[in-house]
Amino acid sequence: MKTTIPVEDGDVLAAIRAFLGRLLESGALEAIYVPLEAAGGAAVPALVTDPARMAQANPLAPVMPINGARAVSALTGKKAPGRVGAVLRSCEIRALIELVKLQQATLEGLTMIGLDCPGTFEVPRYMERQGQAGGGLGDYLAAAREGRDPGSDGLTLRTACQMCLHPAADQAAIRFELFGLDPTQGIPVDIPDALAEQLGYSAASADGARQAVLEKVLAAHRAKRDGALAAVRAQMNANGGLPSLFNACIRCHNCMTACPICYCKTCLFRSASFDHKPDHYLSAAQRKGALRMLSDALLFQLTRMNHMSASCVGCGMCTSTCPSEIPVGMIFSAVGEQVQAAFGYEPGRSLEDPLPLVTFQANEWTEVGEAK
C-alpha cells in the first residue's frame, strides 16, 4: 500500500533512520544492509542488526562505493540465512536480479528497500561535496523534487547516473519516493500491506508531481545517454577503434572486481589457463615483434563483454574503479545495449526473462549460417 512516513521538523534523514530502526525493532527484519556514516564522512555499506546503529545510517548519501548486489550476493548466497533487508538503488536491484538468475543470490527471505535515485557522485567528489555549502541533503532532495541534476559545476554526478534510465527502484518491496515530492512534509512509501499493518501504517496517497518529474528526469538522462553513447561508439569505430581505447588498460581487473555481474570465483584470465610459461610470451612476442605486457588485455575485455554484456545494468562501477580512467562502463553500455536489443532482453527487469544465452528457439535467425 502507499503510505506516508511522518517527518518531524523537516528532518527527512531522521525519519528514514527511525523507519529502518523500527523494521529491526519490530522484528520484521533481523538485519538490514545500508550505508553507515563513518569517521571522515565516508558512507560505508554495512549490515546492521542493532537498531541503535541506525543513527548513522544514511541511505540518502549520494554515493555508491560498491554495487550492493555484490554485497547481497555475499549475504544471501543461495538462501538468505534469515529475514534480511537491503537498501538498494535501482542499478543495484537490477544487478541483483541478474545475479539471482545466475544463482549467485536469492530473493528468498530478502526484503529489498529501494529509493528514488537522483544519482550518485564518485567517492572523491562526494567527499569534496561534504564540505561545501549547498552540497547538503536539502539541495539533493530539492533537485529530486524539481527533477534537475543534483550535480553542480566541478561536482558532477557519475556519468552512469547522468544517463541512468532506471532512477526509480520499481522492483523493491519497500520504495521511498522522492521525485516531484517534498519529503519534508512526509515521505511517501510503497510498502507491503502486511508489513504496513505490523508497523501500524495506514494508506495515504501523496503522489503529487512524481510521474511528471520522473518523465523529465528520464528525458534528460536519455538525451545525455544518447549523446554519450554516440560519442563512445564514434571512438570505438574510429581508426584504431576499441583496441586504442583500451591501450591504457593495465589489466588490473578492477572493472571486473567492481562489476556486480562478474561473479566468477576466479576470473578465467586469472586462472592457470592464462598463467603462461615464459616461452609462451617469447614466441608470442616474436609474432608481431612486440607483446603487450600484461598480455591479452583486449581479449580480457572482449571476453568479459561476451560473458556479461547481456546482463550489464550500466551501473558504471567499472568506470568508477578504472585507474586509467577508461570509459569502461560507457563502452560496455554501448555494447550491452546492442546485445540486449538483439535478444529483446532487458537485464534486471524480471526473474521471468531467461538469460538469452542459455535458451534458444529452433526457428530463429534462420538466415544465420547460410551463405549470403
Partner: protein
Amino acid sequence: MTFTPRIGVYVCHCGINIAATVDVGAVTQWAAGLPGVVVSRDYTYMCSDPGQALIQNDIRELGLNRVVVASCSPRMHEPTFRAAVSAVDLNPYCFEMANIREQCSWVHPAAETTTQKAMHLVGSAVAKAALLQPLEQRQAPTTPAALVIGGGIAGMQAALDIADAGFEVTLVERTSSLGGHVGLLHRTFPTLEPTADLLGAIVERATHHERLRVLTEAEVTAVGGFVGNFDVDIRHGHEEEKVKVGAIIVASGFDVFDARRRPELGYGVYPEVITTPEFEQLSQSEVKINGREPKNVVFIQCVGSRDQALGHPYCSRVCCMVTAKQARLVRERLPNARVTVFYMDVRAFGKGFEEFYDATRQAGVLYRRGNPSELIRRGDRVVVRAEDTLLGEPVEVEADLVILAVGMAPRADTDALAGLLKLARSSDGFFMEAHPKLRPVDTAMAGIFLAGACQGPKDITETIAQARAAAATAMIPLMRGEVTVEAATSVVDEELCAGCGQCASICTFGALTLHPTKGVMVSNAVLCQGCGACATACPSGAINVRHFTFDQVMAQINVVSDFRAPVFSAAPAEAEVASPS
C-alpha cells in the same frame, strides 16, 4: 605438475597421397624442433604393421608419453593408432592426429604453402598433445533387448534374427498390420514366386515368436539414454508404455514417388495411366482397363528417378526389374497384347536379373530406348510420345494401358524420426549410414542401426541382407553384455565453479546438476555425450570436456594463429629426425 611431455611425431607419406604434395621430410624435420618433441619420423604407410611397430618401438625405447601421427583424417585411423599405442601400454588418449591428407594434401597443390599448412597442423597437434591427459574408458552393462521400428520385411527380418539369437525384441509398426510395401506385391522377380509365399512365412514367425513382441498401430514418441541402455516411449493404441533396450534398428521404409509431379505423363488424368504398385493390385484380378482387355501396353521407366529436376537424382534400383516382371506378367495374362517398355538404361544387375531381362525380351516384350516426353489423348486411346533414341526418330505409340514405373522416395516423416533419433540424412533425403562402404548399417548414433529402404532404395533381397546385417551389428553389444562409455566427457573444477548453473540449463542430456551441499555443479559421465556446450557456457572455465579442454584448444589456436612461415629452430639435442623409408 612435474609432468614433462616426451612427444613422438610420425609423418605419413600415405604412398604418394601425402608425399606428392607435401614435403614430408621438411615437416618431419620441422616437427623435431617443436617443444616437447623427442623424435620425429616419416614413413610410407604409418597405418601398416611396420608403421605401427615403428611407433611402438619408440614408445618402448625412447619412453615417449605422447604420440602425434600426421596422416589421414582421425575419423579414418584414430582407432588404429590408439589401439597401437595402448598395445604398448600408452594410454590411447595420449595420442593425437594431424589431418594432413583429407584436409591438406588432397585439397591443395604441391606447393610451399601446402607444406606450411601441414606444418601448422602438425604443430597444432603437438601443442595439444603436450597437454593431453590419460583417460579411462569404462564399460557399462547393456540391456539385452532390442527395438525395431517398422514392420516391413526389413523390420521383421531384423527382429527375427535378434530374437532367434535369444534376445527380447519389440517391433513397433505404425499401421495395423505387418508386411509393409512387400505385402502389396503380387509376385517377385526374378523367380516370379508369389510374394505371399515368402512374406506369409515371415509374418507368421514374427507374430508367434516367443521373444518377439509386435506392437501394431504403435509409434515411438521419445528416445532417451544411449547405446546399451535406451529408454523408449511408445504410444501403443491409446496407452503409452516405456521399454528399455540395448539397441535400436530403424526400418521405417520408403514412400512411393507421386507420379502427379510429372503432369505431362497424365497420371490422375487418364484412367489408362497407372503406376507399377497399382498394377501389382490389378494383376491379381483380371487385367481390364475401361472394362476391356488392353491390347497395347506401354511401360515407362524412371518416373521420379534419375530426375534432378524433381530432386530425385538417384536411381530407384528396383523399377527396371519390377517393370520386366510386370511386362512378363502382361505377356502371360494377355498373350495378344503388345508390350513396349521405354527405358534409358536397363539396370538388371542382380543375381539372375540379366537372365530375367533376356527372358522378358524373349517373351516378346519390346524394349525401346527413350524417355517418353508426354502422353496425349487420341480417341479412346492414349498416345505415348517419345524418341526412340536408337532409331534416332520421334515415335508415337498408341496404348490402352500405360504403366509408370514410379521410384522410391524418402518417407515424408523421415524428418520427424531423424529428429527423434538424432540421425543424419544423406543429400538424397534417406537416412545416412556411418560409412557407405564399411559401416553400411551403422549410424552416427552408437546403438542405432539402419535396415532396408529407409537408408536408400533396395529390392527385397538387398533389404533382407541389410536387415540381417543390421541385426548382426545390433547383436554385438547385446552379446558382449557391455558397452564402452565415452571417456571424453565433461568434468567440473570445483575450485573454479561458482555453481551458476548456466551449464545445466544448456545441457541437452541433463548431465549436469548442482551439488546439494558443495554449491558446485556435478557432471554425469554416462549421460554426458561430450558435446562441450557446457564448457562454452561457463564463463570461469570451470567445466572442460576431457580431450578437448580449453587449454588444449587454446594451445592449438596459438600455433595456427601464427601464420608466419614456420621457423626451423635447431632440433633439441635428444630429438632425432629419422626416415626409415
